[in-house]
Symmetry: D2
Subunit: 347 residues, 4 copies
Amino acid sequence: MSVHMIIVMQHQAPKEQLDAVLERLTEAGFQLHISEGVSRTIIGVIGENTKERIAGMAVEAMAGVEKVVPILHPFKLAGREFKPEPTVINLGDLTVGGQEIQVMAGPCAVENEEQLLTVAQSVKEAGATILRGGAYKPRTSPYSFQGLEEEGLKLLAKTREATGLKIVTEVTGVEFVPVVAEYADILQIGARNMQNFQLLKAVGRTTKPVLLKRGPSATFEEWILAAEYIMTEGNFNVIFCERGIRTFESYTRNTLDISSVPVIKHLTHLPVIVDPSHGTGKWHLVTPMALAAVAAGADGLMVEVHPNPSQALSDGPQSLTPDNFLELMIQVRAVAQAINRQMGKLQ
Amino acid sequence: MSVHMIIVMQHQAPKEQLDAVLERLTEAGFQLHISEGVSRTIIGVIGENTKERIAGMAVEAMAGVEKVVPILHPFKLAGREFKPEPTVINLGDLTVGGQEIQVMAGPCAVENEEQLLTVAQSVKEAGATILRGGAYKPRTSPYSFQGLEEEGLKLLAKTREATGLKIVTEVTGVEFVPVVAEYADILQIGARNMQNFQLLKAVGRTTKPVLLKRGPSATFEEWILAAEYIMTEGNFNVIFCERGIRTFESYTRNTLDISSVPVIKHLTHLPVIVDPSHGTGKWHLVTPMALAAVAAGADGLMVEVHPNPSQALSDGPQSLTPDNFLELMIQVRAVAQAINRQMGKLQ
Amino acid sequence: MSVHMIIVMQHQAPKEQLDAVLERLTEAGFQLHISEGVSRTIIGVIGENTKERIAGMAVEAMAGVEKVVPILHPFKLAGREFKPEPTVINLGDLTVGGQEIQVMAGPCAVENEEQLLTVAQSVKEAGATILRGGAYKPRTSPYSFQGLEEEGLKLLAKTREATGLKIVTEVTGVEFVPVVAEYADILQIGARNMQNFQLLKAVGRTTKPVLLKRGPSATFEEWILAAEYIMTEGNFNVIFCERGIRTFESYTRNTLDISSVPVIKHLTHLPVIVDPSHGTGKWHLVTPMALAAVAAGADGLMVEVHPNPSQALSDGPQSLTPDNFLELMIQVRAVAQAINRQMGKLQ
Amino acid sequence: MSVHMIIVMQHQAPKEQLDAVLERLTEAGFQLHISEGVSRTIIGVIGENTKERIAGMAVEAMAGVEKVVPILHPFKLAGREFKPEPTVINLGDLTVGGQEIQVMAGPCAVENEEQLLTVAQSVKEAGATILRGGAYKPRTSPYSFQGLEEEGLKLLAKTREATGLKIVTEVTGVEFVPVVAEYADILQIGARNMQNFQLLKAVGRTTKPVLLKRGPSATFEEWILAAEYIMTEGNFNVIFCERGIRTFESYTRNTLDISSVPVIKHLTHLPVIVDPSHGTGKWHLVTPMALAAVAAGADGLMVEVHPNPSQALSDGPQSLTPDNFLELMIQVRAVAQAINRQMGKLQ
């Protein structure tokens, strides 16, 4: 059993204060390590849910207490202690979290059948294995286009039939979980919903792999605990997706935290991919950051590709044209080989 | 009609590039202001949903375009343009957003009847008018206590009967909106759910005032747009609640952004209150920050008070003892008078 | 003597690993507290400069070590442990850090004699006691106006003679310390130079009070350690000045962290003032934030006032007109009285 | 000539307000673009130092003005407009900014001759071309070891003679520029001094290449303007060094912003390298982040290597052992080849 909390008593705190602290902790059923030094006592606390219970008991504010230090406790289901070997998720012939790198590509939102099919074929030819596209769109403003909803899901499914690409799409509310799970191969939890605990539990009760985007101000600990919410309901197939955090820098839309790739690999047994499109917000940064992600050990990428190559002058601020995407894939393949990984392949 | 977006062409961009941009914008139905200068053209764009449509059309990436500058557009329902005079929300005899300052106080979570009643009576005597207390608790970890749920709501309602205090409590999912709305006087949307758009729409369809906490990394614009989600469903009684943002500073739990009080007053007609307990995470900072909030013009406070005064040695890291809370109220009253506000009063 | 660092060994780390850690620490001359629990050992480490020495010794990376936790050690000279009663700095008839609140006001940069005198007289009439104005300007861009330098200092001194106002002005490099110290009553260290350690030491060797602005990304600990640099050279008259930190929010120029007022009061014995002009970057937020600062316990304010009231249409984005400033002073006085403080007064 | 600022007038601002704005701008000597639309006028402003002058003139606060939008102006000396082709800096036989990738490695601080030589030989064998090591150390706390100063520089020079490695070392104050420039091949400006403008100008007057670390809260624009300070003095050999920014995430010491590599390449013609040791603060993240940096296009790396391989159990929290460093170099070489770059080589 591991120590969950350390309580440092103040320099020369009187014995009555120490006794009061020990008594309260003992009454609450905690097991204690006591280290009495020359001038200061340190208490190690062991027990269930220590962090919140200690906070609730207000030990930090007791007379004589200098500091209460939480010890990052092992993540019960996501942690390496629970399962040392990496989790490899099967997706038909594809695997996520093993030797293969899977690239998920497609438009931001599903708009119509023809556009979707065109972009799907072009990303498949370039080497993508999974089609991304939003049917339910979480929008900052209520006045924006909210997505085609079930109609969009049907178009995604139709495109899967035509191309063989797997489908990943976002689910934005508990009430949409059944319908999205019916059509999609991977359920995406968006960044804004990373701590929508009802939604996490709902996808945890399905059997579909879940792509869990990092919240824009979520710490690694909070992100992994969000995965624990899904896993406690029985669904162990969680894929983390780094998409940038919010910082003071506004030239890029977010600051894409590539270090989350080795950090997630270090703390958990689960796969992690990177979304350089949302992570930077600028199309000319997508390819360099995709290469960085793969070099750092990411298990995949999620890339926005512009659905309409005929409007050839341009692409959206963060979307690649099909040509740019092809170039990205060529370079990604080279870096993947350099670190002894292979690109995923549809049969 | 106001300009929504400004497009700055590059220095000496050739005419064909300018024409291509103008053509695309015109085709899309936008109205344009064109300013041709000696060496550079500037285009003002007017139209519905300009920001997202322009992004979707990828104008920023067109040849010859240097910069696309969004103009913060007036908030349709929350903005001062829509309704210049401040909104005053009636809550029985109390008002929020007028001359009165309302203090919401109580325990973090509802635990049992006796504790709740004790703390309710003590905060009422000190001058609080609204009882806060969580029945449904959004927890970062799935292994933590999740609240008493409907049982907790019943205890809150019972305490209201006994004391006359109004009730504010959090609703954590769409499915709980009906039951919470049945018991509570104010529905609280927690910081983690500030962009749970399904939940915002659901509380927007009730008739109860909504307390909308600021997300830990939400900009003012995003926060106000979250209020727009509630208001577009017909519920105009939104109260903003600043509770701190996430920054690099870790001595305080969050950085309580007091400037949000005058900013919200400047940009919207809605009331705004401050939660110095979650905003600082340290009990000894709660009173100074409560005074700061009131001096800056806040319409109220939300304060955690420790439910168990018999364990008199202590209070939680961010909870005040009933005695500390009484002291806070005495000082808040003095500052309120200095700026010509009155404390709210139950009949 | 107090524990400076806690080392938590891993769950069931073998004895050899523990011994290796203990040996290295003992060799380095540290005094140790050892707490052997059922399954885990915790080591308290006592010694000089523990934090950096432990980091240098790489204990965190030794086999068997789970976590190294630094304990915020008392600040040797600035801390309350060193001197429990608050420091009151004398400035002629004025005091900073006692019952009085001093308001420092004036233009951003000194431009010419007439403007300076005009603004000085108007802020004095409104109740300011100290004139602010930059002679040496640290500019983000090398292409911007860099200040009048010694000429500006002379104008400040002349205005002091004419009005009796004390002078605070910034010193931007070690080489300017003698000349600025010759003219100014308070030496200001700007936010960008908060960790320019050579400069801190140089002002520490003067006898003038030092106004130490918080760096835009400085933690409380780093800020107080910067004060320690000044104090170790013998100058104990340090005044902290909160001026906003850099966060994701860009509507305000910085996020003014009002909580630094009670935090600095809690951790140190030194005075702290607030600069709402740089802290918000918007003139209409200056007065509410000035009131918030005073209510939270600040010992003073630093406010930009526009030097040219004849161009009456306007004031700079963050500067108040003389009229706005007068209004601010009336309200500040009322809040100061509410919390039993007085406004400083020149004889 | 390019527009430097755009002024958006309010919806239906009366003509007198517009005239007042135009008059003030014209008086100040600006050239104007005026675009009068149906309901709103937009003014483009052209002139020297527009940003600060407009701010000083307080145009934003004039009646009728809705918004003042600065246009990111081309960086005069560092920008691609000034010099489209990339700058390649010669360092004896080595180049920085061309096809070669240079790895700078060594201990955090120079401690003694034997240690320095040992680590220098091991990093050279692994493929590093430049030795790093601090002689003057900027320390957050005045109670920490401040470096060997000139003695340290002499040891670095001696090690250069013995190994052929080039030397990069930090200069912490204007007064140390001559002595550091005498010994070092590259002068390093530390993150805390990125806006110490006196120091930037002083190194700008030397002929040595300057390694300019990014400040922990510096935007890309501020970082490039710091390079402009050096370049305006005549020294064009500036190398940017990303070393992480300060964010809310505390698991890593900083958030290493790999996107700065393609951003700097996009906005300037200067080289950029990455320091994954300070950028992450954890040795096990150094290699993955080094690979990411190279894949993203960095021109080099700066890596801390532990000076004492005989204490073989460990390495510092962010330092690699010589063995780990060798492994890093093998992998970096593979990724460099994958993107068609070569590793720098000493003759």
